[in-house]
Symmetry: C3
Subunit: 270 residues, 3 copies
């Protein structure tokens, strides 16, 4: 069933791609101004032409099995995968995974917020690269900017007490090292970005934790994994995020995160 869904997704992508989006490595003159993906998404045939084993692992191991495990929903797996790819600046599989995410129920507005969130959590150019890939997909789907989360507007309510604690801890620790960084963190991240309603706090945390692990940044994992679990990510889901990420961020990044995750789990009662 799910296997067929993947085949459908692949078929759809190949169809759309071959006609509109990615295969035209050569843009027509009148389309020159349009952002387009610089690399087309390699097909399974391309993979097989270089490594029959990699094709087998991809279809039989990753797509037909790991993605179907019940402990993490396909929508969550898509969020984790997008976070890993954007945070690692890996645009080659991004067109496929943006389309798959849409198929798995991640909304265009949520993809928009994931990209914006990762500008702050993985670097501005990572978001810019993702924009280049996402724009033609959004265009092909007829997603207009005015249907995406607005630039400004109402924010989610702030837990003033928790935020005051975080802010004063960071200020005491590092205010004398870089006061502008401490102020930007409060202003841009915790009193703005994190309160944007276009992505649920639990999903925003899932994006953050995935990006941190995918880039080997274990120092911030305790704070953000606790926040993710406070925001509703279950221990079972977090466990499965790790095994899912192993494929997309490589085994070493996930193994480096294991001791830290273990400690977070040990200190929590849920």
């Amino acid at each position: 069933m799910h296997g067929k869904a993947f085949l459908r997704v692949r078929g759809l992508i190949l169809l759309v791609a071959s006609t509109v989006l990615f295969l035209t490595a050569c843009a027509d003159k009148e389309e020159e101004g349009m952002a387009r993906s610089p690399v087309r998404v390699p097909s399974l045939e391309d993979v097989r032409a270089v490594s029959p084993a990699l094709e087998r692992y991809t279809t039989q191991g990753l797509l037909d099995e790991v993605w179907k495990r019940p402990d993490l929903l396909p929508r969550d797996r898509s969020i984790v995968t997008l976070a890993a790819l954007i945070a690692r600046n890996q645009t080659v599989e991004l067109p496929f995974h943006i389309n798959l995410a849409l198929d798995n129920g991640v909304k265009p507005g949520e993809i928009s917020e994931i990209i914006t969130h990762l500008a702050f959590y993985s670097g501005w150019a990572n978001a810019t690269s993702a924009v280049v890939v996402a724009k033609p997909i959004f265009e092909a789907l007829g997603v207009r900017a005015d249907t995406l989360p607005a630039a400004g507007g109402d924010l989610l309510p702030l837990d003033e007490e928790a935020e005051a604690q975080r802010a004063s801890f960071v200020d005491e620790s590092f205010g004398a090292v870089s006061s502008s960084l401490v102020e930007d963190t409060t202003r841009f991240l915790f009193r703005d970005l994190w309160l944007r309603p276009g992505l649920a706090p639990r999903d925003r945390s899932l994006v953050t934790v995935s990006a941190l692990i995918a880039n080997g940044q274990v120092e911030q994992v305790p704070f953000h994994l606790n926040r993710a679990m406070d925001n509703g990510l279950s221990r079972t889901e977090a466990s499965e995020v790790l095994s899912h990420l192993a494929f997309y961020a490589g085994w070493p990044n996930v193994f480096s995160a294991l001791p830290v995750v273990k400690e977070v789990f040990a200190k929590r009662s849920d």
Copy 2:
């Protein structure tokens, strides 16, 4: 004022780009041999089409505010940004930032040295990727190779005592692990690259520290941040390098560097 400068820069870039450099995703046959940027620089309109919020953060937060803070000059911000982008192999924003750096007073010869420096400090292919982006910009500006810093030639005077101390410390620590690495470090880096006159030692240090933080390589930050400050980088400037880098290398990389920077600051009297 500065905002207008940015608008002018953007306008200039868009004009040049649309006619000569990047928008021609499809090269004419006779131009095939020319290196060109594989991805055009996305415009603010492209960003808005995927995330109106990201466009707002880019214009109102990053360009109109962070870049204008007085504690770090625009020229230094450009050096920091180029270092982060090249060290992280993020070519998508590199054409924009090379042009902005030139506008902010970084000379072509200094950009040439920054790229060469980062071949050693972030990997050969990072420099190669930067070459692909820089070459058509240099060509469009009429920058000829014979006006760039020469391949060899006179070097800056060496502080023999400090270098002898560094070399003997490294040799005692790691000479038995890899004598060729220890010898290459002395010969290629500290008795050659660091003494090239095309980039001031203070700027070379700024490039190095920025690249280290941008790649999460905190182990080498104490040595190189101390060297940077010995070479004239002020504490105020270093603080602002951190908040600037947060945007270009992502918050986690900068937060991981904070404890190390704090310790360096604590041990210095300046």
Copy 3:
């Protein structure tokens, strides 16, 4: 002699590239479906146009000297370089180095296995990016999929005792954190990937150690460096891997690995 080999390789690459592979940034309509490298390989002339010094370091330092040092064979240097480039997702130099690897005696089937191995050790999209570069090279050489290592088939004999020890250690340490990750590690990596006969265990270890150091993942270096040396990598070769990697992964990544390698060396009698 070796210098001439490099010139031959360069000449061959430039010839092939100019006619078939990379220089056609603009694909003919009928070729649109073909995977191709999105960036052509920059020539030494391109490098000189941006940095005469970088060209000098490339030819006189790296290619004519480091690559010719006798402590590590050219074939090993190619394996180390491919591992670093694929693990760091740096496709710009990959066409050159795949061709150089073939010239240095790395077989297409071994390159196929290296790419597959690094899907697991550096992330799926890294392998996908490498597929995009390798496919047209394999095609130009007439390498057919049925001559590459098969998707399944016979595996090398397993050291059941050592594997049981590894598996139970990992399960005791982290089974409660992510049982699916622990099971995937056993099933996909140690009872499958590592036993594939298309790449000798010593070379597979060399790929793994190189990728770990190239990405700053020092936590896993002790296990994998010991495994590499158990599989036949000499101490002299390991030392030279470090100085070779300094150029391709940047000095900081290698210096961060030095204390860990030192400790591994200290505990071994070979």
